[in-house]
Amino acid sequence: MSLTRKQTEDLQMVLRGAAIALVITVFLGPILWIMLTAFKPLSDVYTMALFFEPTLDNFRQIFERPFFLGSKLTNSVIISTFTVLIGIPCALLAAYSFSRFPFRNKKLMFFGVLATQFVPPMVVILPIFLMFRTLGLLDTKIGMIWINLSIVLPFSIWMLKGFVDSIPVEMEEAALVDGASRFRVIKDIVLPVCVPGLFITGIFCFIFSWNDFLHALILTRKEAVTLPVTLGSFLTEEGERWELMAATGTIILLPMFAISYFIQRHFVHGATSGSDR
């Protein structure tokens, strides 16, 4: 017996629904469990307890001595935000150039951009430390923004080039013939179409600088210390303080909820602009 068109569609709907439920469970489940842990009293942290007397004690602790999360939160926000604000425009310009212009040994050059990231950070951290010391950048937010940029930029250029590549050149050519400058073309034609790509790259930059641990650990002391260093300090000599890690992790995730909201808005926007053209 063959299914009618309606039945096929219904079946597809059910399958899709089930798949979406599975995706949400798999990816949201562990996060919710960690957030739940953040509100548990210590007596329930290392148990399977689903019902417990919720407490804000863990959150109180992380904002007090010796952790003082407040100032680190500010540092993290400043450093990550500026990394994105500086990084994305620079990356878009470079990606556009790589995408649209002929270069000698372009493949090699482009490969070189990425190859800067091939060495694990713990091997280059000591030379970076020595360099920062000489330049007086130790324990400064500017230094941290700079080091984060040097890590996220190569990847951002790569990611954005993919998106720029997928934009048909014909529209630009028409505009150029009409006498528009390159910058105008980038601003008026490339930028709007690239919005989903820019967002996804921006998120990448933000998350990477937001979660950077090793550089912050070695290059900061007290003025520019960021959240992940505090998170690391819950791995104490006397074992992990998982409940405090969970509380900090919950705070670290908060801006992500805001960002995800923008993601969904801009994906819709990006999709519309995609179908418009």
């Binding site: 009293p41 210590l42 007596s43 942290v45 290392y46 148990t47 001595r65 010796p66 713990m122 951290i125 000591l126 430390f129 020595l130 010391r133 650990l217 070695i218 002391r221 007290k222 260093v229 690391g232 300090s233 819950f234 791995l235 104490t236 000599e237 006397e238 074992g239 992990e240």
Partner: protein
């Protein structure tokens, strides 16, 4: 150039001591702990790199006393313990005058000692003696016969057991490993609870318990520059250590991948009847806020002996040393005298209002009745354990050799490797490191 600068600094310190000795004999007031009166270093701000732990937090909380006495301010730079070593190494590479003081783990000492100032002369001048500590803690910061730091934190190993279950089944506290297996077999059969052993090779943490077995069995790690931890005694110790899991089956579920903290959590949650490890687990995991066990249910004793010989336990310490490049070495020494004094340590261990610190190192504190009353007698048991304790070999290649041994142990227990072959292979690699000189 480097040496001459150091010589000048030491000479300068010597001069300042002579001067201060005259000053203090003239001054009417006498400060405690050998501190110099008259606040000669008032206005100095010291920087101090220390790991995050209750002990140091307790020092920071009581800092006002020191500042009132000396006029010296101290900034604590708390570093995550897991990354303390990387941080200290970055200071070593830089050769900066900051931080003035550094707290480190004794096993890193041989690799870091160049950056620490020998303090023997100053100790003699101010009447600070290493005799106030047990042997293992004295050795932890002494290199080539010179003291480079004072231990502020240190651990002894103990055997923790469920007193209530042992009494219920009329069992005696084991003093040898053979007895432990017997007792554990009974409890496992009757109560379903095993030994919370931990064989994870993360950071070499499965090595210390094996070292007790091996030392107790007459084995050695390294002798006259030769890696001898693959001797028959050592192999036998490893075979037995692995047998706990694979032959006697007296361990708790998950031991193969447990870290030491997982083991004590398991005991605290009532899922294991025995735990062998650092004493701090008692306060923060076995009887911590995470458990429902009471002090009446948990007993502790020295580590069991292997074979017929006596028990030899491993002990570690975390000394604080003065940066050899520091520009405030005299002031740093003042702080070191204060922060290591017995009264402060006692206050830290007795006061349970804000944090539960159990670690004491002064002999007098370990056997102090007030200290023991506040901690259920833990320190007295540790003192007994520390009486016959040893430390890691003081070699800069030891951390890597320990990792080699640790990998071998894990390989035997989890991956079924042969103990002799695994230790032989580790010894070959270790010998290469030792021969490199």
């Amino acid at each position: 150039m480097f040496i001459s600068r150091r010589a000048i600094i030491i000479a300068a310190i010597g001069a300042s001591f002579t001067a201060s000795a005259i000053a203090s004999s003239a001054a009417a007031e006498d400060l405690p702990y050998g501190l110099i009166s008259g606040k000669p270093y008032a206005g100095t701000t010291l920087t101090y790199v220390a790991p995050v732990a209750g002990q140091y937090d307790g020092h920071a909380a009581r800092l006002q006393e020191f500042t009132d006495l000396t006029g010296i301010e101290v900034e604590f730079d708390f570093v995550p313990f897991g990354n303390l070593q990387e941080r200290i190494l970055s200071h070593k590479v830089a050769g900066d005058s900051e931080p003035d003081l550094i707290n480190y783990m004794d096993s890193w000492g041989p690799a870091l000692k160049d950056m620490f100032m020998p303090i023997d002369d100053m100790m003699i001048a101010d009447g600070v003696s290493m005799e106030r500590y047990f042997g293992a803690h004295q050795q932890g910061s002494t290199y080539d016969g010179k003291v480079h730091g004072l231990p502020l934190r240190g651990h002894a190993q103990l055997l923790f057991y469920r007193k209530d279950l042992m009494e219920k089944h009329g069992l005696a506290v084991p003093t040898t490993w053979a007895e432990l297996v017997e007792v554990a077999t009974v409890i496992k059969e009757k109560e379903g609870l095993g030994i919370a052993s931990y064989y994870s090779n993360k950071n070499g943490q499965n090595v210390p318990v094996w070292m007790n077995l091996m030392w107790s069995n007459g084995g050695e790690l390294i002798k006259d520059g030769e890696a001898v931890f693959n001797s028959p005694e050592a192999v036998e110790a490893l075979q037995f250590y692995a047998d706990l899991e694979n032959k006697f089956a007296v361990n708790s579920e998950g031991a193969k991948s447990f870290e030491q903290g997982d083991g004590s959590l398991s005991m605290g949650a009532g899922n294991s009847a025995f735990y062998m490890g650092w004493w701090w687990h008692y306060g923060s995991r076995i009887l911590g806020k995470n458990t429902t066990l009471t002090a009446e249910q948990v007993g502790f004793a020295g580590m069991p002996a292997f074979g017929n010989s006596e028990s030899v336990t491993f002990a570690m310490s975390m000394p604080t040393a003065i940066n050899v490049e520091s520009e405030n070495q005299e002031a740093a020494w003042e702080f070191l005298k204060w922060v290591s004094n017995a009264d402060l340590e006692k206050a830290n261990v007795i006061d349970k209002s804000e944090r539960n610190v159990i670690v004491a190192l002064h002999r007098e504190n370990l056997i102090d009745s007030e200290v023991n009353a506040a901690n259920g007698g833990l320190q007295a048991a540790a003192a007994a354990s520390l009486g016959n304790s040893r430390i890691f070999p003081q070699l800069d290649s030891w951390p890597e050799i320990m990792q080699l041994i640790s990998n071998a142990i894990s390989d035997v227990v989890a991956n079924g490797a042969d103990p002799k072959e695994a230790l032989d292979a580790a010894a070959i690699e270790a010998q290469k490191l030792l021969d490199r000189g």
